[in-house]
Subunit: 348 residues, 2 copies
Amino acid sequence: MIRNLKDLADYLGLSPATVSRALNGYPEVNAKTRHRVLDAAKRLNYRPNLSAQRLATGRADAIGLLFGIADNMLDNPIVTDLLTGIAETAAERGMAIHLFPTKRGEERAACERIVSSGAVDALVLLSPILDRPDTADLAEIDFPVVCHGRPLLGQAVASMSVDNLGAFFKGTAHLTALGHRRIALLNGEEIYSYAVDRREGYVRALAEAGLAPGPDLMAQGPQTFAQGFAAARAMLASGARPTAFLCSSVLMATGAARAIAAAGLRVPGDISLMAHDDVIDALPSEIAAPGLTVLRSSVRLAGRRLADMAIERRQGTPAADLVEVWDVPLIEGRSTGPAPVDAGGDIG
Amino acid sequence: MIRNLKDLADYLGLSPATVSRALNGYPEVNAKTRHRVLDAAKRLNYRPNLSAQRLATGRADAIGLLFGIADNMLDNPIVTDLLTGIAETAAERGMAIHLFPTKRGEERAACERIVSSGAVDALVLLSPILDRPDTADLAEIDFPVVCHGRPLLGQAVASMSVDNLGAFFKGTAHLTALGHRRIALLNGEEIYSYAVDRREGYVRALAEAGLAPGPDLMAQGPQTFAQGFAAARAMLASGARPTAFLCSSVLMATGAARAIAAAGLRVPGDISLMAHDDVIDALPSEIAAPGLTVLRSSVRLAGRRLADMAIERRQGTPAADLVEVWDVPLIEGRSTGPAPVDAGGDIG
């Protein structure tokens, strides 16, 4: 019975190394021998043990994704859409995805285990892990690593991100051009690079319009419905309420829209509403408001590209050649309009 | 230099098999030898190659999840929350999750590859794959398999599901008890067992109240905002509009709520609204309506349990002992109330 590579080699009267090379398509085996080996493998229903094969070829045909379980990263629709994109590329290439859910504080040990195991060809890290000082240097391990998002501390790593600064500059400038002076920013958590960049874009566009950012018009927190609702409600109840909200996600904008409606105000007559839209199938921007004006960048397409970059990195492309920053277009809808005339001037 | 198991064995003057057994805690190695091996491994910084270790122990320390990429299963917030639950259990046990995104028609080949590779200890399948006639028998491969959802064709497989029939019976009966006679069902796709069961529960509860299900009050489709909106809008525009909507997901209910508001109607004064709530962090039931009445079952907890079941199955628990059906409580909120008095009686 042919149970393993050695049995097959014995049967053929060849060395196991030759049989392994033939099965894996190495060029140093001549065509006749290769045909003979493949024929016999098929006829005898030989199924290579993948673990043995990995030892022989050093290729895992898998992409790893390390994420923190404590941060509920997988519970974040942005991460899951990213994963969907990675899965699309993986399916095309017949690769698996290995998820390494990791408890806080165990990221380093997990990386070491993954690298030494040979179970994956490349590792995808999410910038929130690399934005934390205690794990920032994981970007620079001696292994093919690609990062989703710009790493906050400027580590030398292959990365793919969107131009968050440019996007929020563009969005804010669009609102100032419409006459808005009190523009609220409902941002993600500003410990992460994407949110730091978004705030910077917002502040720069305000400055260009001669406006100073008001701390009462800036909120940050998890990109959730509850956070969008609570932050918008508090701002709308204040003496000098905003006339526009720029939100970091469709879910936050959905919460803000609820608060706007609860305050008896209308979009866009009283309040303009705009959001960054990651183009998540489950969360169409219509959920926040019909015809929501958005800054649009598909996180799913980012996932597809990220998986390709991981494979390119593994094939030897230097990290420095794999740094991409995508532009984010503004798609004007019906949720933004001129500032209301009774809203008064600059109160800054 | 100690590069592999054989080097370590040579150094210790033991056989590689003994060293492997000692490292992996097998009882047939005496305590003294085990201590000696573990000491040396630690001192010499010996890190076992995982592929080699898998060959030796036959344990992969990984759970596999096969899903269809064409169905965008991973893009479904229910699936990703399930995955979050699986990841929580995996993190606790130091296991990885291997995702096998698979193109339509390649499920069988993928299963064969996964099983023969030894890369995972057990495989999680989602009932939509097992509900399709061409892939239904994958439930019964000779490998530890657990299924999320009741397999439609009654295959003998370990499975964990919620009592969808009982839940929708309960929800519908709650509405008939409030005097509703025209209750609309916005269901998922009725090619899948969960949706078939939900329709059956709805139909039975109507029958118990002396009502016949009207085809114009039953819609099915993807569990999305767009589907909920379109189906509800069409029903509300009809001559005999429903006074209550029972929805298969929070997202569908969010779409229905938008259609209700667009028609100038109020919840619950004009229309009662209820939904199945999978308790997805990103999609709180508040998104559909403040105080939404729900049939509640956490898909994340289901994922946690499913991973435990996969491990139990691998350890030898028979499939027949691993069939669980969870009860789904009805949590009454403020979105359901008595049928409006001007809504007329039974038009069935």
